[in-house]
Symmetry: none
DNA sequence: CATGAATGAGAATTCATTCAT
DNA sequence: AATGAATGAATTCTCATTCAT
């Protein structure tokens, strides 16, 4: 019985997290209404508070959950071949993560931009694992000569993650016209590695 | 006397707009407190409502004002020399715009991420003139061979503006540690034109 | 105009304080409902918060106000004659204070008994002036030999104030049957000075 | 088996009562949290409601239990010697009762001050036996001349009980500095019998 | 125009109590 | 009996906005 109860509780929690992700996606963090989330999950007004201590903690938990899923997907991203290929693979994984909860990620990015003490550290932590993976690839690339060594790899990794975000934002801002989500991995890698300036000789490994 | 009154009214309005920009910068749109803005401008609590109809409209007006100032500065940006030099000059102008109302731009960028129907068009309009200028430079660069022609220039221009924003965000997110505002123009141009991949021969014009 | 406004505000504040005293008297501190107080004062729900920052602060202000009135009355209490007469006079003043806001004092005494960090210091401060006056009288009495010197005067003063409170409590507990408020000053002095044991010779100065 | 079950139920009930006494002592009646009590007793949240119908009834039961224990201790108090000695003995018994559940008695006294219809009669009932015993001693004292006969003995008895309570309150209010619990019986008797006024000749039986 | 008191809808949060398991 | 998830009324407090002076 305990197990059944525990299971049911897990499900309820999940329902609340999903309703919350959806609601945050639609209303943002400030605009969100805790009661509405609880009701949307099929519970009474105050029930959410049996699972989460506060609106902020709820947001944090939604984030953590998103994180967890993201890590699973990142873990699956193959990592061999050239730096270009490995970055592309990571970018594709990130796009996949995005697809799963696109609305919530929109809010996430927006909250990241608010630099609030309550949310910024949380989000930075969320980005951490991805950026770390990117940095490992770049560090390897520096030693093989595939990546320029005129900038620290941690800064480069941040730039790569940033360029991805940038493309998401353009995607949303253009209502999906450009770029298409499917094009983002290639685009990001190209922008990041090649730049827009004229290379004296074309890259071959593309 | 009517003129004096009108002038005084203009000044009051300006004071309110500045106080609002500062306050929005610190608290965001949702978190802003209308009374506090009015008080910060040196007026009593309700006075703001003699000038603006609502918090939202006030925000929009602050936005419009920021746009207006930005345009003035962009107009002054010199535009000659190589593509690299001209982009650097535009980026420097943008940084200058940012410096003038750094807090407010923080909010601007955050709001851009919310894609709200009330604010997004305004912000897009704000970016417009800058992006147009960048595009002109890039189009010229394509014809001189300084810029690759594997992507439409409007998309490239959006990317350049985006990279700038990205660097601002990293600047804020790192509490000013990296990158320094002064380094941003060079950094943006380098990232945008050269990329991080290994060029077979180093650029000379740097 | 400013003066008129300030005056009106004073009146509103007073109305709220009175409604609050009444409401606290009826419901206690925990049981009190801030909205109800505001409504009872003839204002809208939230209006009270234009005057007081929180329920606790409101309570503190009611207390302070009661304090202020009490001090006025204590100040009027004549202080000459024998220790017995002077104590009687102070006790009578205290009863007078009590009469003015009997309900609120009931709550006050009750809150004093709760020893909460939020309220106890406030209330102790409230009692201070009265106890000080009593102590002065007792100290004088010790030097004239009217008061025994087998206990520090500050402790004796606390006992006297306590006996008064005790009689109030019995008054309330018996629904006013015994003791009558009017009898309390004499009773308190008698209990305090003479005790219930058999004195070998009756006091004459009574 | 029914007996075993009944016994177990008794024990559970007792555990809950003790946890409740402790919790009420720390938080008061209004501030108490039913869930916390149940958990503190080692049960799950709702279990308490298998034993008590409501928070109020629980409080009443704790009170009744305290009463029961107090009676046992009062019964043991020896009663011979002078009035002074017998009163001292009763006071010592009361202090002993207090010591056993000091926290709860704090709440008890506070609740007594609230004069609520739900709790006041209970508390009066609790005091009853003690006051009766005191009254018997005093009545005997009146006939031996040890106690003045200028006041009905029931009122005197209430005063004695009240002075004890008063000393407890000062004990708590001073954080135990004055008076010490151990000093209270003597102090109470002295205050009650002798008063603070100057006796023409010192008591000998002290 | 400036003022600032008043408004009242609305939000987060608490918790005594119920009841299906 | 024990459990603990669910309930939802109630409460404190906020603040954008209005409007009489």
């Amino acid at each position: 019985m305990a197990r059944i109860t525990a299971l049911a509780k897990q499900e309820s929690r999940q329902r609340l997290l999903e309703a919350a992700a959806q609601h945050f996606a639609n209303h943002g963090l400030d605009g969100a209404n805790v009661d509405a989330i609880s009701l949307a999950a099929g519970f009474a007004k105050g029930t959410l508070y049996n699972y989460f201590q506060s609106k902020e903690q709820l947001f944090a938990e939604v984030l953590t959950e998103a994180c967890r899923r993201a890590l699973e997907i990142y873990a699956e991203a193959e990592s061999h071949g050239s730096v270009r290929e490995r970055l592309r693979s990571l970018a594709a994984a990130d796009v996949e993560v995005l697809r799963q909860q696109e609305g919530f990620h929109k809010v996430l990015i927006r909250e990241a931009m608010s630099f609030r003490n309550e949310t910024y550290p949380l989000i930075a932590e969320h980005l951490g694992p991805f950026v770390n993976k990117v940095e490992q690839v770049l560090a390897a690339g520096v030693s093989t000569g595939e990546v320029r060594n005129n900038q620290p790899t941690d800064q480069l990794a941040l730039m790569f993650a940033g360029i991805l975000t940038l493309l998401y934002v353009h995607h949303w801002g253009s209502q999906g016209i450009w770029p298409d989500l499917a094009d983002i991995p290639d685009l990001a890698v190209s922008v990041f590695l090649d730049g827009a300036g004229h290379a004296t000789q074309p890259e071959s490994g593309r």
